[in-house]
Symmetry: C3
């Protein structure tokens, strides 16, 4: 029986039963204009903004923390967006097993002025990556920022930077 420390990230997502979206089909970038999914410089991998949307545009928990969403719903949305990040990372690197380490992530959360539990929402992102990659590679720096609104009423958006095991073209 495999444990987290033995299983590769690609094995872990199977064990966890995660449904990771395929950003090749349909190609990334249609709904929000001519955008690319990621950019790589050496081992640095920078992803574009990622929301808790399905590939067909369906959103998980549109709304606002502190008003019409609970912290639990925010956590679920962050976890969903984090699964989307796995799909974007697969698109960038070919396989999750090519991830050396998460670097850091900003979690922009639509919230009211009185909301003060942003960190319990953002944890939905980093907990998922810890589940998949373990402590050594899955731990991230993070900031959780309460914002006023996002495109299409999304309740949060992630901005992720990570490190790949190898650089494009060697390195």
């Amino acid at each position: 029986m495999s444990t987290r420390s033995e299983a590769s990230p690609e094995q872990r997502v199977v064990e966890l039963g995660l449904e990771i979206p395929d950003y090749r089909d349909p190609p990334y970038g249609g709904r929000y204009g001519r955008l690319k999914a990621y950019h790589r410089i050496g081992k640095l991998v920078m992803l574009g903004g990622i929301t808790p949307e399905e590939r067909d545009g369906t959103r998980i928990h549109p709304g606002r923390l502190g008003e019409d969403l609970t912290v639990e719903q925010g956590y679920e949305a962050a976890r969903k967006a984090a699964v989307n990040c796995l799909g974007m990372t697969r698109l960038a690197l070919g396989s999750l097993d090519e991830v050396a380490s998460l670097a850091r992530v900003q979690c922009f959360i639509v919230a009211t002025p009185d909301f003060d539990q942003h960190h319990l929402v953002g944890a939905g992102m980093t907990d998922l990556w810890l589940d998949v990659f373990g402590e050594a590679a899955g731990m991230a720096g993070r900031a959780d920022i309460g914002v006023v609104s996002l495109s299409n009423k999304n309740c949060l958006e992630l901005w992720l930077t990570l490190e790949s095991k190898s650089a494009p073209g060697g390195g």
Copy 2:
């Protein structure tokens, strides 16, 4: 007759009639304190925050999306700030022809809680860079974030990362 695919970025900005500000004169950083315009590590180029302001402090469309600004005005402001990014990039690299590729950009947009068209505003930035650099080098990852206010009533601010063809000191 040159087409986009044949013309260099510096030729394209002439064709497009873009007036790109010169951040050497007056030197960057006076109005907002002792700040620098950019930092380079290898081929990674990180610009400081860029607003839709003229060098003399005149702002295009100060205000708030969803309240006193239309999406079209927001798009114009993003395009103006994107032209300013060209000036900052020239300052950093000497020439736009030294840009290997746009990496990604955050577009912080002053908006109301009900506004949900942030992506149509942010497109003003990325469309301009696509016009100048073409699909291969001009495509970016992007996030559009609705924020509550910015310095001097600016309606948006860009946070841009790009890749240069060569690294300072070789590479």
Copy 3:
């Protein structure tokens, strides 16, 4: 008598009487979940989000600019968070003398829609780093972003990128 240009950053913090928190004891990341403090790729150093909190969770000036905080209090909070950044940088590099240069910083400031002096708040961060590192290494690119709320009523959060003199494992 030493002047800024002669003293090393570690000497400067002594001269300035700065009390820099030790993020090894207690270890970073307890209060906001399983997070890491920083990530390094080559000479690139990326810190996680940093607030004006003491290690015991005490916060300087919780609240909102334009409502219950003055610009001076915001500046003090930014300066406090900047001192925390020194602690995080020591944790990452072992010594402040290993900093080659500040790259850039985002200052997310909890503010009202009418507030427009964000740059006078963010200056508290960059002025402190200029005091410690001098113009050559301490100057940063910056963006000051007015946001709606942050975890635990913090009034601001910093997102800092810098360059180290050497890369982990040589370089």
